[in-house]
């Protein structure tokens, strides 16, 4: 009997230790994946940058990797397009998103708020290729007609598509922030004779500003990382950005070069370098976001 019990206890100890190790392994694997991705992007991104030269690569205004005699590898057009496109999407998406969040948090009756929230959830679930398809068939022709352009596949079309795509995250993060504003602030304002709208915009919104800022940063991250939808509406030409020009983003440069560049060519390695630049952008945004949340938690 004792022997059996001892055996059972040993088996139990054994399985306990084993499961602990299994879970540890899972955790370590998760870290390993991040390391794998970072290492791959950095290692494969560096050679082309070294060959082209960092400054020529980052600030070169011409991308002509297939030119017979003098191929050029400047990604400034992509960087600027990503920056302008993101800024444009934020400029359009944030006001609409913020106002909708305010509507949901303060003005809407409960039922209506539930309906609008469902709409927001659905918008966030729609695949990006579907946004791209509708953008390509509805928005692009509309832009062409309205502005009398030879082609509607422009930075403007991309900005509009991106601004719709970042709306859901801006709305839900801002709404959470607005809902978290202590009731006492709003009461104090009303007791001073402020109207409800004055209270929402002059007290609640400033009190929720760090959360709203986080929503904006999140939106920036989304917009800068989107590839397929804007691939379908931006025309995908390596121009310097202009609102009515066909353009290529950092993400779409990666996606479009991936299918054409021959393995081992400088063009191929330059594509990895573009990915590295995008990765660094995203990491920067991540760091900003993390610092923000940490500050908020402490402050």
């Amino acid at each position: 009997m004792d022997a059996l019990e001892a055996k059972y206890a040993a088996a139990k100890r054994y399985s306990e230790t084993a499961m602990g190790l299994v879970f540890l392994l899972c955790g370590v694997l998760a870290v390993a994946f991040v390391l794998l991705i970072s290492a791959y992007l950095i290692l494969s991104g560096l050679p082309a940058i070294r060959e082209v030269g960092l400054l020529d690569f980052l600030f070169g205004p011409v991308w002509a990797p297939t030119h017979k005699t003098e191929p050029q590898f400047g990604i400034l057009p992509f960087i600027l397009t990503s920056v302008y496109g993101t800024a444009g999407a934020v400029a359009v998406g944030v006001p609409v998103g913020f106002l909708t969040a305010m509507f949901l948090s303060k003005l809407a009756p409960r039922r209506l708020a539930a309906v609008v929230r469902t709409a927001v959830d659905l918008l966030s679930g729609i695949p990006s290729v579907v946004y791209g398809l509708v953008g390509m068939t509805v928005l692009v022709p509309a832009v062409r007609r309205v502005f009398r352009l030879p082609s509607g596949a422009t930075l403007l079309a991309a900005i509009l598509v991106l601004s719709v795509m970042i709306l859901p995250s801006i709305i839900s993060v801002s709404e959470t922030a607005l809902n978290a504003v202590p009731r006492e602030y709003e009461e104090a304002s009303l007791a001073l004779g402020a109207t409800e709208t004055e209270t929402w915009f002059r007290v609640s919104a400033p009190a929720a500003s760090s959360g709203i800022a986080a929503a904006v940063v999140l939106g920036i991250g989304r917009a800068i990382g989107e590839a397929m939808a804007i691939m379908m509406v931006a025309g995908n030409v390596a121009n310097m950005p202009g609102l009515f020009k066909s353009v290529r983003f950092l993400t779409t440069a990666i996606a479009s070069e991936m299918s054409y560049a021959g393995v081992g060519s400088l063009q191929r390695s330059a594509l990895y370098s573009i990915a590295l630049v995008l990765f660094l952008f995203i990491m920067l945004i991540n760091v900003i976001l993390n610092l923000w949340f940490k500050n908020k938690r402490e402050g």
């Binding site: 991040v34 991705i37 909708t100 290729v129 996606a255």
Partner: protein, 283 residues
């Protein structure tokens, strides 16, 4: 009795109107998207298209292989990512004795969530397709997606594990139960709804993903004769097929037909996540 000044009254009315307009715009955008997609998609969606393999020679348009590829990608990814993600979450909330390691893992998970899917696609292509020599294949797609959705699963699992009251754990451990036994019999059952919600969200992301798949799983639309063949050959998901039909082959109507399938899936996924969430709150 004194009245609110005209200026303030206008400000108040104007802002209320603006808030309503913004919300109406958001709803109108969704309604417009759904309308456009279903109006142009549903008429083109035929039973034959859903159940046949495409052939250029015989001029058949079919998306059956793409449907099967999507199912394979969802199933394969969840099969690997679910145990791995739940395991990592359990380690983080129940075991991690060293807070530094836990912080590193959490930071890693957070960082992974922010990385755009096109970068997952690129690294997946570099590592699985080229380095391991698998070429464009469903298995390369699956592993790429595993890395991509792992953080989502870890995070949602962790959140639901944290809602299990500490007193349960203390009671179980106080009775002499081992940690694993306590997790298996108490903690996991109490948080299963949250894990299911996480899975549904993950399914939504996989079904909607395209950038990470285009160059890892590829874009072929051929019916595989065996599971092995399915996993090792190139296969385009529905999203990738949508992209190929509308961008490369100029068959917009097929694109819309696929888009309407994707919209229905999106609606179903959102609905089921809501139902599970509601059940979660009720308990």
């Amino acid at each position: 009795m004194e009245q609110l000044s005209l200026h303030r009254r206008m400000y108040d009315r104007g802002l209320r109107l603006l808030l309503r307009l913004a919300a109406a715009l958001v709803c109108a955008l969704l309604a417009g998207l759904i309308g456009v997609i279903f109006l142009q998609g549903l008429p083109n969606l035929t039973w034959a298209m859903l159940t046949s393999e495409p052939s250029v020679i015989r001029n058949i348009t079919g998306i059956l292989p793409n449907i099967l590829n999507t199912v394979a990608l969802v199933a394969g990814t969840l099969l690997i990512a679910l145990p791995l993600g739940v395991g990592a979450a359990i380690y983080l909330t129940e075991y991690a004795a060293s807070h530094r390691l836990a912080a590193v893992i959490e930071f890693a998970a957070e960082t992974l969530t922010g990385i755009p899917s096109i970068l997952y696609g690129l690294v997946g292509m570099l590592f699985f397709c080229q380095k391991l020599g698998w070429g464009s294949s469903i298995r390369a797609g699956i592993l790429t997606l595993v890395i991509m959705i792992l953080p989502t699963i870890v995070r949602t699992t962790q959140e639901s594990l944290k809602t299990v009251p500490q007193s349960y754990r203390e009671a179980a451990l106080g009775l002499g139960s081992g940690k694993w036994r306590m997790i298996r019999t108490l903690v996991l059952p109490a948080s299963v709804d949250g894990i299911v919600t996480g899975c549904i969200l993950a399914v939504g992301r996989i079904v909607g993903e395209s950038a990470a798949l285009l160059y890892t799983a590829g874009s072929a639309a051929v019916l595989a004769r065996s599971l092995g063949e399915l996993l090792t050959t190139s296969g385009g998901s529905l999203t990738v097929a949508l992209y190929m039909y509308s961008m490369e082959r100029g068959k917009i109507e097929v694109g819309f037909a696929i888009a309407s399938i994707l919209m229905v899936l999106t609606l179903l996924i959102d609905l089921s996540a809501k139902l599970v969430g509601r059940k979660l709150r009720r308990n």
